[in-house]
Symmetry: C2
Subunit: 131 residues, 2 copies
DNA sequence: TTGGTCCTACGAAGCACTTAGTATTAAATA
DNA sequence: TATTTAATACTAAGTGCTTCGTAGGACCAA
């Protein structure tokens, strides 16, 4: 009964795993487990379960190599980032992404250099549109 | 056994409720219920339970007026927005808020006017720092 | 006073998430 | 070949979230 638990967003642990897969490109249960944060003691079978569920939810695909499954992200990090931001914008920023940037920019903890980078980015984007 | 289920972030429904409270400033169970989205048929007791839990988690405070509790946000929307963005940045954007803005800015769906506004904001922020 | 209305408090069901154990199978090695 | 190793599949426990029902109390009107 291999149903397709569909779901839009990654859970906490799924994001943790997906982050590793995005970084590695692909990986086995063992690979992901080995790359988790040092203090994270997770049983091998737990990791296997999580990846199997992620496949049911179609967050990853798998391919058997020998006796082992190799898992690959089914969606790019970029795309997931966009999706998440869009969702957050709708839920917490009245659907106006600009207010989100405003909040970021006005908060302390953003270095001047980071701010400069963003301005450069904006300049580039705005001049592109002019052309 | 009135324990303090502490927790950092609002759940889905809690955010829904908090959004109303932020908009209204404060409100009773009835108030919140009446301001939910039209299609949202939620039992009165459900809403009451949710607000009671939110108080246990210290997301809201309450004050009895007559026989009815009036609930007020215990933290400002601004502050929660910042917290959420910071968390998201750490979990999905390698802890670099600039990359978050980059993703937002590069995605379609952001009007040129919005982009201009943000640049203006940045300019203001950067010249402030110079002074 | 009695019945209806509106509130709070509590409890419980259903579901998803997280974690890990057991059983089974397949490969590798001695 | 027999044993050990390592993988997958399944099951289940614990917890938190969401929802609602029931019970009980206060107030108001007939």
């Amino acid at each position: 009964m291999r149903q397709k638990r569909k779901s839009e967003f990654l859970t906490e642990v799924e994001l943790e795993f997906m982050t590793e897969l995005w970084a590695m490109g692909q990986g086995t249960v063992r690979d992901v487990l080995d790359h988790l944060a040092p203090g994270r003691n997770l049983a091998y079978t737990s990791a296997a379960t999580i990846l199997r569920i992620m496949e049911q939810k179609e967050f990853v695909t798998s391919e058997k190599q020998g006796k082992t499954f190799v898992y690959k992200p089914a969606l790019a990090k970029d795309a997931y980032q966009s999706k998440t931001l869009h969702d957050l914008s709708n839920k917490l920023f009245d659907g106006t992404p600009a207010s989100m940037v405003a909040r970021l920019v006005n908060d302390k903890g953003m270095s001047e250099q980071a701010l400069e980078e963003i301005r450069a980015l904006l300049d580039r984007r705005l001049t592109e549109n002019d052309s």
